[in-house]
């Protein structure tokens, strides 16, 4: 990909500079699996470059704390800041807190992404793709199973204060709204807060009503896995249900390997992490960069899952 | 009244740092006697009680209980030796019922090998409670009621009934009716009379002159940490005792207290 080459070029360029670069990064939460992979991607990438030191902070889902962390970074004179924003509607506040210090938003799209000052940029994947890829593939699978006459299912949301959750669910509704897929109906949609065990209980609750269903869509793998565990515990045949999610985590891929999980979407956590570091360094050097960089999602099914087993 | 000496102290002394709260108390009590300890605030009454019940450790002096020299490491030791104390604050747990409170800390149990999880022998405790209540003349229709639902007087009676249940050898009451109304005070005094009839020795710390004159055989007066009078009830009256308390008079044997 063109953008990947640009990054590679920048990286090698920057790696040769002798001056030490200090980057301060604040991540919305440390206990999220996917974000942990991204965080590790940032750290490993920074370690591989000479003279780049990376300081990591946990915002514990607290926006006020995150803004303070950004201000602290500015006060201690870091060369660049990377922010995985807690609340996507607070972009302006973070932008202002950073002042003139170069800043990169990573993974979560702030609402001011189109009005960023020249010292700031955004690296992520477009959540419009994630939910769409997942739902669309499920739609195709259902057709292949001969259910084009009508299919009913459930949708599990992530934390609704997360733009990713909101967007992914919207994607599902948009896909179902299309002519090709409007044979699908959502019986109910509820939140399981990204959590596997909450999803287990939610799925069991849904199943207790006895309504037959053909698919389960979830905003992330953890919830999809929870749903699968609940369905298996109830003795359901996983071949009769299509289950789709997002992330392509290791646990998910192994579940896919056992044949229980049908569709997921790979979000390049490592790539986003490393990319954010490179963009930050580029901003420090005053180079011209794309202010909005979208790293693509990739659809993962049993057919190509082998490629991704070692990635997340 | 027999001649057996229940409690004797010799030179019982307690200093709190530089404060001489109790100095050289020589006290003797015979079986069947009811003795009142009186004195102004800070005179040393409560300090004296605290030393002989093991709540505190004395600075100097000796104590004999039924002829045996004793030294209590804590209030539990005193209790085990047979001294039962009824404190002004009662030491009752509001949410527990009568048998629970009576047996608190010394429950009857079985399956003792279970340690802290040994089982409570409710039947035995109930039986012993009823016997103890009867002995002190306290009537409670429903002993399974929690203490919270009882009046101050009833609670005090329960606390006193504790002494009867555990066959105490000496009962000490510290201001038992100070917080009670007239009728409840009468109830408690009735129980004290019952104890007297049963020949149980009692030390009563009280400010209430009328009560003291009604109930006890002898009055010991403390002043400024020392005993300044040892009076038989027949030999004295209210005014007289007050004079000793305030220091207007001192018995010749205790002349050093007047200093």
């Amino acid at each position: 990909m063109k953008k990947t080459l640009i990054f590679a070029g920048l990286a090698s360029l920057l790696a040769t500079t002798a001056m030490a670069q200090e980057i301060g990064a604040t991540i919305s939460r440390f206990d999220d699996n996917w974000l942990t992979v991204m965080r590790n991607g940032m750290t490993e990438h920074a370690d591989s470059l000479d003279g780049v030191s990376l300081q990591m902070e946990d915002a514990t889902d607290d926006l006020a704390k995150q803004i303070d962390q950004v201000k602290n970074f500015v006060a201690s004179g870091v060369d660049a800041i990377i922010v995985n924003i807690v609340d996507t509607s607070a972009g302006a506040a973070i932008t202002e807190a950073a002042g003139g210090t170069p800043l990169v938003f990573v993974n979560r799209e702030p609402d001011n992404v189109n009005d960023l000052p020249p010292t700031q940029a955004f690296v992520a994947s477009n959540e419009i793709e994630s939910g769409t890829l997942s739902a669309f593939q499920i739609c195709n699978n259902l057709r292949a199973d001969g259910k084009a006459g009508g299919a009913r299912g459930y949708l599990m949301n992530g934390q609704l204060s997360n733009q990713a959750a909101v967007q992914r669910s919207k994607d599902v509704h948009d896909v179902i709204g299309m002519d090709m897929c409007n044979f699908m109906t959502i019986i109910d949609e509820q939140t399981a807060n990204w959590s596997r065990d909450e999803a287990q209980d939610l799925m069991t609750n849904w199943m207790s009503s006895g309504e037959p269903f053909d698919f389960v869509l979830a905003n992330n793998d953890e919830m999809a896995i929870g749903a699968i565990q609940a369905m298996k515990a109830a003795g359901m045949d996983m071949a009769s249900v299509q289950v789709g999610g997002v992330d392509a985590s290791q646990d998910a891929l192994l579940t896919m390997q056992s044949g229980d999980y049908d569709v997921t979407v790979f979000q390049d956590a490592f790539g986003q992490g490393a990319g954010s570091v490179d963009t930050a360094l580029a901003l420090v050097k005053g180079m011209a960069v794309d202010q909005k960089v979208y790293i693509p999602f990739v659809l993962v099914t049993p057919a190509n899952m082998g490629d991704f087993l070692s990635k997340n | 009244m027999s001649d057996e000496v229940v409690l004797r102290t010799q030179d019982l002394t307690k200093y709190y740092g530089g404060v001489h709260a109790l100095e050289g108390a020589n006290f003797e009590m015979k079986k069947g006697e009811h003795i009142a300890i009186m004195g102004d605030n800070g005179a040393g009454k409560s300090t004296f009680v605290r030393q002989i019940t093991g709540v505190e450790q004395r600075t100097r002096g000796d104590v004999w209980l039924y002829g045996e020299e004793v030294s209590f490491a804590g209030p539990l030791d005193a209790r085990e030796a047979g001294i039962e104390t009824v404190f002004q604050t009662l030491a009752l747990a509001d949410d527990l019922d009568v048998p629970d409170n009576l047996f608190l800390g010394r429950e009857k149990t079985f399956a003792d090998w279970l340690g802290p999880f040994r089982f409570l022998d409710y039947k035995a405790m109930r039986k012993a409670t009823l016997a103890g209540l009867e002995k002190t003349g306290v009537k409670i229709p429903n002993i399974k009621n929690t203490i919270r639902n009882m009046s101050g007087g009833q609670r005090q009676c329960v606390a006193i009934a504790r002494t009867a249940t555990f066959h105490s050898r000496l009962t000490i009451m510290d201001e038992p009716t100070a917080a009670l109304g007239v009728q409840e005070t009468a109830q408690v005094e009735n129980i004290i009379r019952t104890l007297k009839e049963a020949g149980e020795p009692l030390i009563l710390v009280s400010h209430n002159m009328r009560q003291v004159m009604d109930l006890v055989d002898r009055i010991i007066v403390f002043r400024r940490g020392r005993i300044c009078a040892n009076l038989r009830k027949e030999d004295t009256n209210g005014e007289d005792v007050v004079a000793y308390i305030t220091g207007a008079k001192t018995q010749p044997e205790y002349a050093d207290a007047a200093a």
Partner: protein, 357 residues
């Protein structure tokens, strides 16, 4: 209602009638909530006359929708285990805020000793320790988890009893410490893929089996043993307990240890059920556990409370969760309803207390 009995010297006493146990009230509240959801299922147009409690589709042998009854209690069983411990702590007039993060930390630690070597025939990608820690007998992770819980509980109890730090503060500090431990343990990475025998601990209705068995055991302990009696005594009047010769400090440490061990066990069951351990698990569990006890009629000032009440409190929360999913109402309403019920439970209890005296 006074009944005067004359004893020696004209003693009179009030006889209070044997009162209606509070647990009956909670049971009735539970029935009322169930009936409300049943009615909603009938009258709400989009529900198409579905039944909350009864098996209208003829899927089960009994008239009840067994799947629903099962999930009602299954989804609160794990927090219920924590609540059994918290109940005891609150009875001593203390509080334990550290249960949630303790669940997460224990899950991470125990799961690390419960991992299986091969997943789908390939080496376990989530291995924390080397081969020596793989495929261990299930007793190992369970004991490790319980020991961790015992340690945390001992620390909590020591701070409260010996250093006289207010329980709120001590356990709040432990809340933060355990959160840190959970995050630090595997640098935020989840620990997954346990052995089959470990998974069994949390499989199917096992969490309910654990919850109800432990409830029965602790009900017996609280009501019929010396430990139980002393727990109530300390909460009711700590000074009286001390003066009666009870070793109050040592007892408190025991109570906090038991509570933390129960929370640790909840962590084991949770990770077994989900086949994973994640640092973010157990969020808000300590608050829900306290809520169960409060709805069950416990007094936060100590001396009053029962295991039966707590179990009923757990069922109330379970019914609310399932009920809201049943009528397809958003999760935010659920939280508001739970909060409302907790406050109502406390108000009703205070009203009852005032009327008794």
């Amino acid at each position: 209602m006074t009944d005067t009995s004359h004893g020696v010297g004209g003693l009179t006493f009030d006889k209070t009638k044997r009162s209606w146990p509070n647990e009956m009230n909670i049971f009735f509240a539970l029935l009322i909530i169930v009936i409300i959801f049943e009615i909603l299922g009938q009258i709400l147009p989009y529900m198409n006359g579905q039944s909350f409690l009864f098996d209208t589709r003829g899927r089960f042998d009994t008239i009840f929708n067994e799947a629903r009854l099962q999930i009602i209690i299954l989804q609160v069983a794990i927090i219920g285990i924590i609540a059994l411990g918290v109940t005891q702590v609150i009875i001593t007039a203390g509080i334990d805020l550290s249960s949630g993060p303790l669940v997460a930390a224990t899950a991470m630690i125990a799961m690390s000793f419960a991992q299986t070597e091969l997943v789908n025939g390939n080496p376990n990608p989530k291995a924390i320790f080397g081969l020596w820690a793989m495929d261990l007998p299930v007793i190992v992770p369970v004991v490790v988890g319980l020991l961790f819980g015992a340690m945390i509980g001992a620390i909590n109890g020591t701070f409260v009893a010996y250093f006289r730090i207010p329980p709120f503060i001590a356990t709040l500090g432990m809340f933060l410490i355990c959160r840190g431990i959970a995050l630090w343990w595997s640098a935020g990475r989840p620990v997954s893929f346990p052995t089959e025998s470990y998974k069994f601990i949390g499989s199917g209705m096992m969490p309910v089996v654990w919850f109800l068995s432990l409830a029965v055991i602790f009900h017996i302990i609280l009501r019929y043993t010396v430990y139980g009696k002393h727990t109530y005594a300390i909460g009711s009047n700590e000074e009286a307990a001390r003066m009666s010769g009870i070793n109050v400090r040592r007892h408190k440490v025991m109570v906090y240890m038991i509570a933390s061990m129960l929370a640790a066990f909840a962590g084991v069951v949770l990770s077994a059920k989900a086949s994973t351990a994640q640092a973010g698990m157990g969020e808000f569990y300590e608050l829900f556990a306290i809520a169960m006890a409060v709805i069950g009629g416990i007094s936060l000032t100590g001396g009053r409370g029962s295991i039966i009440g707590t179990v009923l409190g757990a069922m109330v929360l379970g019914v609310i969760r399932s009920g809201f999913t049943f009528v397809k109402l958003d999760g935010s309403y659920q939280l508001m309803a739970m909060g409302g019920i907790i406050i109502a439970a406390v108000i009703l209890d205070q009203y009852r207390q005032r009327n008794r005296a």
